[in-house]
């Protein structure tokens, strides 16, 4: 056995996969990946929104906690100033996010920084950032420095490395990448509306309940970058404010001094950079039930609350500043807002697919996909409620309403392409009440509106009020 040959074999074992890996990378660098599609489109849309909004504006900045949790539209309405939601994905990291943010603001603007706590850590580049830079911003990637570039290339997964080839062969893959995070769920202010409470399934609720308190760390490079950004903002006559990120309220934050010390470091980092906070870290903690799917993503109900509280804290700044003209509020709502209102208090558990925003009928609808769909409504005390809805079954048939396993009502729906009204009185017990809708042919059942009118629980009627019944044929049991 020749030792030199063995050593050469080891070196070859190291070199061959390395050559394959880097060769593949250079063959596809700069090619769009489906993974980066959402981030890319979101940024482009926000750039267009920002360009079209007259200044000076209030600009909401941060990761997806602000993207989903702060509603620029509501904020603009409450404060009477133009507001743009410029939040992107926190996975882009503080350094690159602030780099992108500079493209979305103008002199005279006021930025409200709502950076997630992870954006104060100096960690290795995330897979989100690497994917984005390699696919959409290779020029920025090329100036990271050799060490960081090599490390980032090695950090890519095989799936990511091969993704652009897959996208080329199957362009449809890009469209499939969109889910509840679809860029089509972005409204005219840059708010993401995919967190409508109506989409909060049981699986999502359980995943939120399993979330643990955040690990918070503030690293010196992140503090330095914040300082540099503040210097840049001052040089460009841009005012900076900060709000703590909205996140789940855990008792550990109050009980553990070491966590409070870290939160104090976040505040100090902003003080050093001369950026005042409009709130304290306790002010942006919300109960678990208001979160959609992650530790930072509020649902639509939580976002409304968070926005209202932020508006109150920003009022003194809004009154004191000079602002651009606020565009006339549009009467047309984003289809998701319509859905959110139409299905308020309705928490789907299973059997329903996502929303169909622009169906031929022009009414946002939700489809039943299983043999039955189960939903839940939670009340604190025994109540009577009225269940109303607009349902279409193209081939007609029976639609049963079942409560906690017991049949309540059967509606006989006519064969029709138009929507038919369902309407019944139900009794709600304190706690969770589960209702199932089961159709004879569930695959063609489409629901345009479903409301539980519980005394005192619904917002004022307005958008999304169910239309007048057509072809109602209910058989009470």
């Amino acid at each position: 056995m020749n030792p030199a040959r063995t050593l050469a074999a080891f070196a070859a074992g190291l070199a061959v996969p390395a050559a394959l890996w880097f060769g593949t990378f250079f063959a596809e660098a700069g090619e769009p990946s489906s993974i980066s599609h959402w981030n890319h489109t979101i940024f482009e849309k926000k750039k267009a929104i920002s360009d079209a909004t007259p200044g000076p504006r209030l600009v909401i900045a941060g990761g997806s906690g602000a993207l989903y949790g702060i509603r620029a539209r509501d904020l603009s309405h409450e404060l009477g100033v133009p507001v743009v939601n410029a939040a992107l994905h926190a996975g882009l990291g503080q350094e690159y996010y602030l780099h992108q943010l500079k493209k979305l603001v103008r002199p005279g603007d006021t930025i409200v920084l709502a950076l997630e706590y992870q954006m104060y850590m100096d960690a290795a580049d995330s897979s989100v950032l690497i994917d984005y830079l390699v696919a959409r911003d290779p020029a920025y990637f090329a100036q990271l420095g050799l060490r960081r570039e090599v490390r980032d290339i090695l950090a890519m997964t095989p799936g990511r490395l091969l993704n652009p080839f897959l996208v080329k062969r199957h362009p449809v893959a890009v469209a499939l990448a969109a889910s509840l995070n679809s860029e089509t769920y972005l409204d005219a202010h840059g708010d993401a509306l995919g967190n409508a409470a109506v989409f909060k399934t049981e699986a999502l609720r359980k995943s939120v309940e399993a979330i643990h308190p955040l690990r918070i760390r503030v690293d010196e490079p992140a503090v330095r970058r914040l300082q540099e950004f503040a210097d840049w903002a001052r040089a460009n006559r841009i005012r900076l404010l900060a709000t703590h990120p909205n996140t789940i309220d855990f008792p550990e934050y109050y009980a553990r001094p070491e966590i409070q010390a870290k939160l104090g470091q976040v505040t100090r980092a902003h003080e050093i950079a001369g950026i005042p906070f409009v709130d304290g870290w306790r002010d942006t903690l919300f109960e678990t039930g208001l979160f959609f799917d992650t530790v930072y993503h509020l649902d639509s109900v939580g976002a409304t609350l968070r926005t209202h509280e932020l508006a109150e804290r920003l009022t003194p700044y809004a009154r004191a500043g000079r602002w651009g003209a606020v565009s006339e509020p549009s009467l047309s709502m984003h289809p998701l807002e319509v859905v959110d209102r139409n299905f308020r208090l309705w928490e789907p558990l299973s059997g329903f697919s996502g929303v169909e925003l622009q169906p031929p009928q022009g009414v946002p609808v939700i489809r039943m996909v299983g043999a039955s769909g189960t939903m839940m409504v939670h009340v604190d005390r025994a109540s009577s409620a009225r269940l109303t809805g607009e349902v279409r079954m193209e081939r007609g048939g029976d639609l049963d309403l079942v409560k906690d396993g017991r049949p309540l009502v059967r509606w006989r729906l006519a064969q029709s392409r138009s929507y038919q009204r369902i309407d019944t009185a139900v009794q709600l017990a304190p706690g969770d009440n589960r209702f199932s809708l089961a159709g004879a042919r569930p695959d063609d059942t489409v629901i345009a509106c479903l409301r539980f009118d519980v005394e005192g629980l619904l917002p004022p009627a307005g958008f999304g009020t169910c239309e007048a019944p057509r072809g109602l044929n209910a058989v009470d049991r």
């Binding site: 056995m1 063995t6 080891f10 074992g13 996969p17 489906s34 993704n163 893959a173 399993a210």
Partner: protein, 490 residues
Amino acid sequence: MLFNSYAFILGFLPAVLAGFLLLGRIDRRIGAAWLALASLFFYGWWDPRYVPLLLGSAVVNFLAGASLARQASRRLLALGISANLLLLGFFKYADFFVGTVNLATGTAWPLPGIVLPIGISFYTFTQIAYLADAYRGEARDYDFVHYLLFVSYFPHLIAGPLLHHAQVMPQFDDPGTYRVRLPNVNLGLVLFGVGLFKKTVLADQLATIASPMFDAAAHGGTPTAAAAWVGGIAYALQIYFDFSGYSDMALGLSRMFNVELPVNFFSPYKARDMVEFWRRWHMTLSAFLRDYLYIPLGGNRRGTGRRYANLMVTMLLGGLWHGASWTFVAWGGLHGLYLVANHAWRALRRRLGIPALPAVAGIAVTFACVVVAWVPFRAADFATTLRILHGMAGAGGSGLASSVPALWPFVIRADVAPELSHGAWLALALAVAFVAPNIYQLTGRRLEPCADDRPPRAAAWLAFACGVLFFLGLKALAAGEPSPFLYFQF
């Protein structure tokens, strides 16, 4: 500094190896001194405050050992061992003792909160063995530089293998150690490549399967049976690949310096019973506990009852050595019970002429017992342990239906190329642990060395394969901060 970091692999190791071979050509004592200094630097990378502690411990033990080698003194031996145990007790067990006293008496003495110097359990035990051997006349009056190198030698300093002075001191004395030996470099690279792959690819991936279950249980949830067993098995595999990966890397590194360290793992999950398991798992600790605790306690020489009691004491203390917590004691106690049951079963089988279990059944039963014992070892506290054990028994439901998707071989997403699923990672890890030959077998070693064994060698095809594994290990390191080895905490 971690073996699984770019700073170590691309900076420290090449520089130290080159310096060692260059200086060793001039004078082997200078070469040894260089390696000892480099080892102290390696140790001080974490926290330089503890370098004087390590140095002080080495100096005191060297002087005590030298004195014992010249004149056996029971009093000096007792003093030396007590001093070592006091040092270990102060740094490792002070919080544990105070906490236990608080719990037992209802007092509220503040915990000292002493930071554990990394590797203290290993270098303390190593030196206790040295003192005992010096007292028995089995240790020579060594050169201090060699002794310091023996204690601080970086490949084994943090997490073993536990070294016996007789295994390495003669090698430090050998002029051939300070020459370039290509076969040793090859073997070292092969072992290091395999170890790096085990740690950064397998163990760190398995942690992502195991940790969520343990964390959820720590937050009050009772896992389903499927989740508890999948999490438990994932942790069993994680700690195996983590620790055996570290040991492979340690042996590989040392080989590059022409110093052969004892094998620490030999496919332990292929063991057909618990006795065999402990002959394959953390072999150097098993040998230490046997030679310096079990046998001095009387071993199996004083009747069956005493033998079982000795086994229990040895394993309970072995558990406590791993960590200052009652959950580690419980882990040791479980293994003590397993060993007692195993010996009793063997005796019964012999008496009644019952045939042995088929190998597959023996392996399965042994592995299941080991997985159950890992639960208190990994869990944050006893409440968590009980929740997981209840979950394993089905108190949280079977969970089979929800577990099936996680066991598909690939995560299929239309928009990205498929990635390996948790199920695939588990299957791969199980195959490596239960089916594949270990790297020592592949380089020509056996569990029980024989006189006619040839020196281990790496074939070209094996070197190529390990080069690929080395690349995959390096690649996995790029994805984030290197994660510390689990045994660093002990």
